[in-house]
């Protein structure tokens, strides 16, 4: 994986939101609003339950008034419009009382193994106010206004996996519905979306009385949940090579299966052609302020028009492979990645089983019997690109990643200008591999790695990585993350695309806004027909 390609990623039908919705439909999940104790402004406590076949998961939500000057998406925020937990089961009054004392404090609170996630969200004031005022006045909101935002609230963090005392992943790793990557987090966000729509309708009713109208179902579907994502995802991707490998391997395997089809069945071609109409309109509606991204989108529109034409004319043997090869040869990285996503789209029967393998619970131990000579060969085979760099040049390690004392906010510093380089996170993989390679030279080539690493413990982290990447090649990022030219946004987009996000809206090289579940069916609409037919959302056409 190279950063530039990672930064052009698009969601696919293997993305985590997609798999969650498919499961909900196939298993007939039931949804229930168990509690909605909120005042006229929507402030209070709510509980929304998702009943899976064997278990129930409940979103516990606390909403409060927030002064505008307190509203920030940064990790260093201290207060939020809404805070949440996903509770394992149905919470009792004691649980809710305990969470009421802790959840609004977020990182400063403490949680138990009954809580599977901890999250918070802030309103998009312009969308929220517009929707409430419109519904209260008896009319539907202006879809064009909503299209500029795409959501009523945006999450600014969704924590799982044992953070702040919440349940460890191990607790739920054997359950079918939570075994897949980030399913707990995706479920949390999906239920938050439902809550936000209930909330605006409730506040509109409170203000408008008999004049108020409910939100049009098409507009509800068009409302996603926003998300602001910063640097926290970069350490995650680097520190979980086995997991990342499982994601990419699934996607590449799916693509290989489709490209290997000798003929295109009319059903699949027809389905993709129908989808292309929505894709075209989606791309037309995807506009951002970031000039680099906007230019990429504009080129993408041209490339997808070309793709649509070729798709309509496709014939002969291995047609899907031909389409992919055209993209690979002629399109931008954005275009290539979107084509890969589109080719998978009509082939659910062929590829959806691959989603079941997109997780890992394996340990990451060193293989101590490997010899120094074998390790050297591995480094040369896999990390030649890293060995070519001169790390004595300042540009080669200009940046460093660190946790700030400010609520552990992950930040990216400049080594020569800022203090803290001696406390950097171990994300300088390329540099550290080169140092390992240097130490291997001169060692007894037949010595075991057990002996080498006992004498050179400073290389242990990267030695483990080299051994792992030999087995899990898609787990490595084949670029240096401390280089002068690093663009963290590429890492964020890669992970967010695997989540299933759309409408990437980069605000700088360090962070992006996205929309999640935009276009997805509401809980009372999920069925086999809707669960997988909601991507590439477009503005609904509402009769005046």
């Amino acid at each position: 994986m190279r950063l530039a390609r990672m930064g052009a990623s698009h969601q696919t039908r293997l993305s985590f939101m997609r798999t969650l919705l498919r499961r909900m439909a196939s298993e007939n999940w039931r949804f229930e609003r168990l509690r909605f104790d909120v005042d006229a402004e929507g402030y209070g406590t709510s509980v929304y339950a998702a009943h899976a076949p064997e278990r129930t998961y409940s979103l516990v939500a606390f909403t409060q008034a927030l002064a505008p000057e307190q509203r920030t998406d940064r990790v260093i925020a201290e207060a939020w419009d809404a805070t949440f937990n996903l509770f394992d089961g149905i919470p009792g009054d004691e649980d809710i009382a305990r969470l009421a004392e802790n959840t609004p404090k977020q990182e400063a609170g403490r949680f138990s193994a009954n809580e599977l996630s901890l999250a918070r969200a802030n309103k998009s004031l312009r969308a929220y106010v517009h929707v409430v005022e419109s519904l209260a006045a008896g009319r539907q909101p202006d879809v064009d206004v909503l299209a500029e935002v795409g959501y009523l609230m945006r999450t600014t963090a969704v924590y799982g996996s044992g953070k702040f005392g919440c349940a460890d992943r191990e607790k739920i790793a054997d359950r079918p519905e939570t075994r897949g990557a980030f399913q707990v987090e995706m479920l949390s966000v999906y239920l938050i979306r439902w809550l936000t729509i209930d909330m605006v309708e409730h506040v509109a009713r409170s203000r408008g009385g008999a004049n108020a109208v409910p939100m049009d179902p098409q507009i509800k579907r068009y409302m996603g949940i926003g998300n602001s994502t910063g640097l926290g995802m970069a350490p995650f991707l680097t520190q979980h090579p086995m997991l990342v490998n499982s994601w990419v391997l699934a996607r590449e395997s799916a693509l290989a299966r489709v490209r290997g089809l000798p003929v295109a069945a009319p059903e699949q071609t027809g389905a993709l052609l129908r989808l292309m109409d929505r894709v075209r309109r989606h791309l037309k509606e995807w506009n951002v302020e970031n000039e680099i991204q906007q230019a990429r989108i504009e080129r993408l529109r041209i490339e997808m028009a070309d793709f649509e034409t070729r798709l309509a004319e496709t014939s002969g043997k291995y047609p899907w492979d031909k389409l992919y090869c055209v993209a690979e040869k002629s399109y931008s990285l954005e275009g290539q990645e979107l084509v890969a996503s589109l080719l998978l789209e009509p082939h659910g029967v062929l590829i959806d089983d691959l989603a079941d393998g997109m997780y890992t619970d394996g340990a990451t131990r060193i293989y101590p019997a490997m010899t120094v000579a074998e390790l050297r060969s591995l480094v040369e085979a896999r990390y030649g690109w890293a060995l070519e760099r001169d790390y004595d040049q300042p540009a080669a390690q200009k940046r460093f990643w660190y946790y700030s004392e400010d609520k552990l906010e992950p930040r990216l510093g400049e080594r020569e200008r800022e203090p803290g380089g001696d406390r950097e996170m171990p994300l300088g993989v390329a540099r550290d591999v080169a140092a390992l390679y240097g130490s291997l030279n001169g060692e007894n080539t037949e010595a075991s790695i057990a002996e080498f690493v006992l004498a050179h413990p400073e290389h242990r982290h990267v030695l483990r990585r080299v051994q792992l990447v030999a087995q899990y090649p898609y787990g490595e990022i084949y670029d240096s993350l401390i280089d002068d030219g690093i663009r963290p946004l590429d890492l964020l987009r890669f992970k967010l695309a695997f989540f299933g996000a759309s409408k990437f809206d980069p605000k700088s090289d360090l962070w992006t806004r996205i929309t999640m579940f935009q276009g997805a069916p509401m809980p009372d609409e999920i069925d086999a027909a809707t669960a997988d037919d909601w991507t590439f959302p477009i503005k609904p056409e509402i009769a005046a």
């Binding site: 193994a113 312009r126 101590p368 400010d406 406390r423």
Partner: protein
């Protein structure tokens, strides 16, 4: 006076202990594996905060405890530090040398190691070559496929802070039933399940000590770095 307790997750133990170890100068890769050992040691009833803090404080005061060497000849192999031997380093290497170094005589000794239970915990949760691990009052057999049987004269012997000499040999016919304390894989699995459902209650002052060491890894914030952090401005009313 009873000490106060706090409850944390197993993942928090891993996260904080890893970085606390880095905070006292332990290389990141070693710190990760030490934290893994600490995480699994909880299944043996030990307080991970007290143990981890003790190990790391000792290293902080005397870094030479972590400078370990493998000494040996055709007849014997020994791991030892300078003066004493820190389990932070030796606990991991003990297993790896046993698994990977091809010792001709099937015998390895680790001299004067603190908290040998951590070394056992690290060895116990990996696959590989079967081994019998012993220190005074404790015998453990690991079958190399996740199976483990431990016999100890009492809990104190199992949880001793040391220092003691630990010996690794090839398992013979198993363990004689000698000892009041008998622990098997199923006991450990049950303990792990309880921890996943309830969290880990540990000594609050010791945990505060771990967090204090952890904070050494954090970079102080200033106005410039706050403003340069990822995300919108410090106020966002979009």
């Amino acid at each position: 006076m009873s000490r106060t307790h706090t409850t944390v997750s197993l993942n928090e133990i891993r996260f904080y202990v890893t970085r606390a170890a880095v905070g006292v100068g332990v290389p990141f890769g070693v710190a990760e594996d030490f934290a893994t050992a600490v995480r699994w040691s909880v299944c043996f009833g030990i307080d991970p905060a007290i143990v981890a803090l003790s190990c790391l404080t000792a290293l902080d005061l005397d870094p030479s405890l972590g400078r370990i060497k493998l000494l040996g000849s055709r007849e014997w192999h020994t791991i030892r530090g300078e003066g004493g031997t820190s389990v932070v380093f030796a606990g991991i290497s003990m297993t790896e040398i046993w698994q990977g170094a091809g010792l001709p005589q099937n015998r390895l000794t680790v001299l004067s190691i603190d908290y040998p239970l951590l070394a056992l915990a690290y060895a116990a949760f990996g696959d590989g070559r079967p081994v019998k691990i012993q220190w005074p009052g404790v015998h453990a057999v690991l079958d190399g496929a996740g199976g483990i049987v431990i016999q100890a004269v009492d809990l104190e012997a199992l949880q001793t802070r040391g220092s003691v000499d630990v010996m690794l040999t090839a398992p013979d016919s198993g363990l004689a039933n000698s000892g009041d304390l008998h622990i098997t894989s199923s006991d450990i699995d049950a303990a792990n399940h309880r921890l996943l459902c309830n969290g880990v209650a540990l000594d609050a002052p010791a945990w505060a000590g771990i967090v204090e060491l952890f904070r050494r890894c954090l970079v102080p914030s200033n106005e410039q770095s706050r403003l340069a952090g990822a995300g919108a401005g410090l106020v966002d009313t979009d």
